[in-house]
C-alpha cells in the first residue's frame, strides 16, 4: 500500500492562513466546496460575547477560537488524487477502495494556521470543557513536562 509522505517545508512565509473549523459532525465529502460563502463569511458573535455563532444545515453552532500552543503550527495538507478520481458532483459514486488512492510523491502543505475554530451544538459550557481543547492544550502541556530535560 502506498503511504503518503507529507513534506513540511520550512519556508512558511507567504503561505496564507486558512480559515479552519472543526465541526461537530461527519461530512461525507472532501472535495472543493464554497465553505467561505456558506459558512465562514456568515459567522457572527453570540450575544456580544466572544463566543461565535454560525449555522450549518439549519443547526445552530456555538464556537470558540483555539490558539495553538507556542511552537506548534497547523498545516493544511492537500492530497493529490489520481486522475481517475473525480471531485465533481456526478451521479456515479464509485466504491472507495481499501488502498489509499494517493500519489507516492510528497504532499506539500498548502497553507498554515495558528488557530482554528471549534464548533459544538447547544453549548453553554466553557471552552475548557471541550475535548478538543483539552486534547490540544492539556496534552501538549503534559507532553512538554514529560519531555522536559530540566
Amino acid at each position: 500500500m502506498n503511504k503518503p509522505i507529507i513534506l513540511f517545508e520550512n519556508e512558511n512565509e507567504g503561505k496564507p492562513e486558512e480559515n479552519v473549523s472543526l465541526m461537530p459532525c461527519f461530512i461525507g465529502f472532501d472535495g472543493p466546496a464554497p465553505v467561505s460563502e456558506f459558512f465562514h463569511n456568515k459567522i457572527s458573535n453570540k450575544d456580544d460575547s466572544n463566543k461565535l455563532l454560525a449555522y450549518f444545515r439549519g443547526r445552530e453552532l456555538n464556537g470558540s477560537i483555539l490558539q495553538l500552543p507556542e511552537n506548534y503550527v497547523g498545516e493544511c495538507v492537500e492530497f493529490p488524487l489520481l486522475k481517475s478520481e473525480d471531485h465533481s458532483f456526478t451521479g456515479n459514486k464509485s466504491e472507495s477502495e481499501d488502498e489509499a488512492n494517493v500519489s507516492d510523491e510528497h504532499c506539500p502543505a498548502s497553507s498554515t494556521f495558528s488557530q482554528f475554530k471549534i464548533w459544538d451544538r447547544d453549548v453553554s459550557t466553557s471552552i475548557e470543557q471541550n475535548k478538543w481543547y483539552k486534547g490540544v492544550i492539556e496534552w501538549t502541556q503534559f507532553a512538554s513536562r514529560i519531555a522536559s530535560t530540566e
Binding site: 459532525c25 461525507g28 472532501d30 456558506f38 449555522y55 439549519g58 445552530e60 447547544d122
Partner: protein
C-alpha cells in the same frame, strides 16, 4: 385623501421583454420589514395618534401568517383600536376574500397616519425568521415547538401594547388548534381584558382581520424582498404543496450546505427529504451525508470509529501511516 404610493428603491421596470422573475414584485414595502436584512427576525410597532386617548377601552386582535410554509418567516401581528371606533366600513369584515393586492392597499391605508383609520389603529409585528424556527426545532435539548413559540410571541406582543399605556379591554385571537386551553391561558395572563380565542376569528372580528392583514402583507413582502435580493427565480408561495416551491428547493440545493439566503426551514420534512435523506426520491444524485451523531446516547468517544461500510473515521478520511 390617500397618500400616493411611495416609490421603493427596489422597483425595477417590469417590461414584457425583461426577465420578470428577477424584478421586485411589490408596489408597497410595509414599515414592518427590515429592508437591510429581511431574512432575519424582526420586531416592529406603531402607536396611535398622540391626540387619541390611550386610557379608554381598546380592543385588540391577534393573527399570524406563515405557520405552514417551508420558506420564510412566521409572522405574528396584533392590531388595536378604540372599542367605539367603527371598523366595519373600511373593508376589513371579510378578510378571507381579500386578494393580495387589496390586502396591500388596506395596510397602506392603515399606515396613513393622516387618515382617521391610521390615527386610531396601532399595530405591531413579530417576524420569526426561518433560521430561528429551524434552529429551535433542531436543537438537541429543549426543542422549541411551534405552538409554544406561537403562544410566547403572542403574549409578548400583547404585553408590549399594555406597556405602552394602552388600556386593552377586549382581546380576540385566531387559533389553529383547540381554542379552550389557549383561551384559559391567555385569560389568566391578561385578567384585565375579556379574551376570546376562536377559529376563523379573522372572519368574525374586523380587528382580527386587520391583524391578519398586517401579518400576511409583512410576510409576503418580506419573502419577496429576500427572493429579489438573492436574485433567484420565483419560488412561489413557499408552501411545499406549491410546485414552484419544491422545484426551487430541488434545483437550488447545494449537496453539502443546503440553500443560500437563510430562508429555508431546514427542520421541515420537505427540506430534509431533499438534503438529508439519501434514499428518498426527492434527493439529488449528488447527495452528501452529514452525520450529527444524534443517535448515540453514550458520550462521544472520538477514538472509536463510527461503524459503517466505508469504515470512515469521525473526521476526515481514513489513511494509515
Amino acid at each position: 385623501m390617500k397618500k400616493n404610493d411611495e416609490t421603493t428603491t427596489f422597483a425595477s421596470p417590469i417590461t414584457e421583454e425583461s426577465d420578470t422573475r428577477k424584478g421586485f414584485n411589490a408596489a408597497f414595502v410595509p414599515p414592518s420589514i427590515d429592508t437591510t436584512t429581511p431574512e432575519k427576525s424582526n420586531y416592529f410597532h406603531t402607536t396611535i395618534a398622540p391626540d387619541v386617548p390611550k386610557d379608554q377601552p381598546f380592543r385588540l386582535g391577534v393573527d399570524e401568517a406563515g405557520r405552514g410554509p417551508v420558506l420564510g418567516p412566521m409572522v405574528y401581528a396584533v392590531a388595536y383600536c378604540p372599542v367605539d371606533f367603527d371598523l366595519t366600513h373600511f373593508g376589513f369584515a371579510d378578510s378571507k376574500t381579500l386578494t393580495s393586492v387589496k390586502r396591500s392597499q388596506l395596510l397602506q391605508d392603515i399606515c396613513n397616519t393622516e387618515d382617521e383609520l391610521g390615527r386610531h389603529v396601532g399595530w405591531s409585528v413579530q417576524s420569526i425568521s426561518a433560521q430561528e424556527l429551524a434552529a429551535g426545532m433542531l436543537r438537541l435539548h429543549n426543542k422549541y415547538n411551534l405552538n409554544s413559540q406561537a403562544h410566547d410571541t403572542t403574549m409578548d406582543l400583547i404585553q408590549k401594547v399594555y406597556d405602552s399605556g394602552v388600556r386593552v379591554t377586549e382581546i380576540y385571537v385566531d387559533t389553529v388548534g383547540p381554542p379552550d386551553t389557549y383561551q384559559q391561558k391567555l385569560q389568566a395572563r391578561f385578567p384585565q381584558a375579556k379574551v376570546k380565542v376562536t377559529k376563523k376569528a379573522d372572519s368574525l372580528f374586523p380587528i382580527v382581520s386587520l391583524a391578519s392583514i398586517c401579518a400576511k402583507v409583512t410576510r409576503d413582502i418580506q419573502l419577496e424582498l429576500v427572493r429579489y435580493l438573492l436574485q433567484t427565480q420565483d419560488w412561489g408561495s413557499g408552501y411545499s404543496a406549491d410546485a414552484r416551491t419544491t422545484k426551487w428547493l430541488r434545483s437550488s440545493v447545494h449537496p453539502v450546505f443546503g440553500w443560500k439566503g437563510d430562508i429555508v426551514r431546514y427542520s421541515w420534512q420537505t427540506a430534509r427529504d431533499i438534503l438529508e435523506v439519501a434514499s428518498s426520491k426527492t434527493s439529488s444524485p449528488s447527495f452528501v451525508d452529514v452525520d450529527w451523531h444524534e443517535e448515540t446516547s453514550a458520550p462521544l468517544n472520538f477514538t472509536i470509529r463510527k461503524p459503517s461500510t466505508k469504515n470512515r473515521s469521525w473526521f476526515g478520511t481514513d489513511f494509515v501511516f
